[in-house]
């Protein structure tokens, strides 16, 4: 466990110094700060527009950071040969993968926390009448963090066998499909009027590609009238789903990396 923590700690140290990530983070924070510029609507709509826009920015920026952060993690270690010094020590490959992954999500958590704090500070100033909602809205970024942890695991899995640029498109594509089209594939897989092959293929995609879309709980957050039924159970189920997919992705990553010649 100490080995995993040591590798994770070093990974965080490296990640928070990567200029490209800091630039992406800065752009995200900048958008969050100028978000109140959209205040041209009524007070009720203002709340919804600001929250929706800010959560969208946090989601998009976090997804870009998660991908850029993770796709280079293992290839860089191989290219710079730091991996040889590590793997020649009593470090198992699975410990290396887990250390890298936990380091990545720790760095991601820090960056997402910074964006959330920036958003809540802006929200506190420009929405004084809705300050009591901040605690509720915070559930949005928290669920995005779970979503990004899953995305990072997927990108980590791909990074064990494809080059970083290919991985960017692959992970980005999986995220896009899992965010926007998961429901479409579910509908196709359940449509009895379609040929079996189409239904089967849609069913495979629906099962294999993680359903990233379900972690976006913006709607109930920006519409105070609506609420999630059995909220605690809902969040536990989502977390369980994420943990299951993350575990599977990391196990495959370890198996692939264990056989890989570095």
């Amino acid at each position: 466990m100490n080995v995993i923590l040591s590798i994770a700690k070093t990974t965080v140290g490296e990640a928070i110094r990567r200029r490209v990530l800091l630039v992406i983070l800065l752009i995200g924070v900048l958008f969050l700060v100028i978000a109140p510029g959209l205040q041209t609507l009524s007070a009720r709509q203002n709340f919804a527009v600001l929250t929706s826009f800010a959560l969208g920015i946090i989601q998009l920026t976090s997804a870009v950071i998660a991908i850029v952060l993770t796709v280079y993690m293992i290839p860089n270690e191989i290219e710079r040969r730091t991996i040889y010094t590590i793997l020649s020590k009593p470090v198992q490959r699975w410990q290396f993968i887990l250390g890298k992954y936990f380091g990545a999500i720790a760095a991601l958590a820090m960056m997402m926390a910074l964006m959330s704090v920036a958003f809540f500070a802006v929200f506190y100033i420009v929405q004084p009448e809705a300050r009591s909602q901040i605690g509720n809205i915070a559930k949005g970024p928290m669920m995005f963090f779970v979503q990004m942890s899953l995305l990072a695991a997927v990108a980590m899995l791909f990074s064990t066998f494809v080059a970083p640029i290919v991985n960017m498109f692959l992970s980005g594509g999986v995220y896009l499909v899992g965010t926007l089209f998961n429901a479409v594939f579910q509908t196709i897989s359940e449509n009895d009027q379609l040929p079996g092959l189409v239904k089967g293929a849609a069913g495979v995609i629906y099962t294999v590609v993680p359903n990233f879309g379900q972690f976006n709980i913006s709607n109930p957050l920006i519409n105070p009238g609506t609420e999630i039924k059995g909220e605690t159970l809902f969040f536990v189920q989502l977390a369980g789903y994420a943990i299951l997919y993350i575990t599977v992705a990391l196990i495959i990553a370890v198996i692939v990396f264990d056989r890989r010649e570095v």
Binding site: V3, E14, T85, S88, K89, P90
Partner: protein, 324 residues
């Protein structure tokens, strides 16, 4: 004496484009004894780094066996007892030398800051231990690399080009450190192109070319069969003629001074006795061992290195002629 490293028929095959197989390492039989400094030589692309990676358990052999300290190279128990300094190492530049040592120590489960400081002191980095590695010179990076390779007090150390690109002072410091390792009873496996260093510090060497061992043994045996240089003054013309008639060695004679290069296969004492009985003054008798460089060139002479050397010599000669 027990073996620290042993390989039998070790082979590593890669698939090239077009499906053709290439043996990067081919039927390699290697024996490294415990407590010795072993030089692993070969031209670029000969298979040295691939062999080291197999011995570290980073890549796997396609055929044959390898054992390190009596166990499988991938065994974590082996990794606790060995260390590795890669060629042109890169370290996490955001860390200071001390932080890097603490990080690598933690990978061994060692939480001993005093040990890290002691090792940094040993490689003369005490004053720079709190500076970021990004500010370290190449020599300092190499020294911090050596310091980290000592964290677990290893029985066996793998060094890949440990003196490559270092300035003369850093070069000597690293070389002296390696000699200290032997005094401490550690086994050192060095891959290097610095033949003069290898000749100076190694007990045994192996030369690998195109994935195969072409020479392996102790330097004393491999470099035996040299010559002796004899210089004599007050040599008469008739004595010089007598010696020339004996033959079997090369000599130059001018104005009473004779310089002879006598191979070990010829009875050197007989020639020296002849000189002395002819009233010549023998001023020096210098045994000349074969150089490792010569052995290396002979061993890989069909390779590009030999061709490169020939080309270099021609250029060098051309330069000298121009200077004249």
């Amino acid at each position: 004496m027990s073996l620290a490293i042993e390989t039998k028929n070790l082979t590593k095959t890669y698939k090239a484009r077009g499906g053709k197989s290439i043996n990067v390492v081919n039927d390699l039989d290697l024996q490294v004894k415990s407590g010795e400094i072993f030089g692993f030589l070969g031209p670029n692309g000969a298979g040295k780094t691939t062999t080291i990676k197999i011995l570290l358990g980073i890549i796997y052999p396609s055929a044959g066996t390898a054992s390190v300290l009596g166990r499988d190279p991938g065994d974590t128990e082996v990794h606790k007892r060995i260390s590795y300094l890669p060629e042109k190492p890169y370290y996490y530049e955001h860390m200071t030398g001390r932080e890097l040592m603490l990080y690598y120590a933690s990978l061994f489960g060692i939480r001993d800051a005093a040990l890290c400081d002691k090792l940094l002191e040993r490689v003369n980095l005490s004053n720079d231990k709190n500076r970021p590695i990004s500010q370290y010179s190449k020599g300092m990076q190499q020294r911090v690399g050596l310091a980290q390779s000592l964290l677990n007090n290893p029985e066996l150390i793998f060094l890949d080009e440990p003196t490559g690109g270092l300035d003369p002072i850093a070069h000597i410091e690293v070389r002296d450190l390696i000699l200290q390792f032997r005094e401490e009873g550690k086994t050192v496996f060095i891959s290097s192109h610095e033949l003069s260093d290898i000749e100076r510090i190694c007990d045994r060497v192996a030369i690998i070319n195109k994935g195969e061992i072409v020479q392996q043994g102790s330097l004393d045996v491999l470099l035996a069969g040299g010559s002796t240089e004899v210089r004599a003054e007050s040599v008469s013309d008739s004595l010089a003629s007598t010696l020339r008639e004996k033959g079997g060695f090369t000599m130059s004679y001018s104005s009473g001074v004779l310089l002879a290069e006598i191979p070990d296969t010829v009875n050197q004492n007989e020639i020296i006795d002849t000189l002395r009985s002819g009233k010549a003054n023998v001023v020096s008798v210098i045994p000349r061992r074969r150089r490792l460089e010569d052995l290396f060139i002979e061993s890989v002479k069909d390779d590009n290195v030999a061709k490169g050397r020939k080309l270099f010599n021609m250029v060098d000669k051309g330069d000298q002629e121009e200077k004249v």
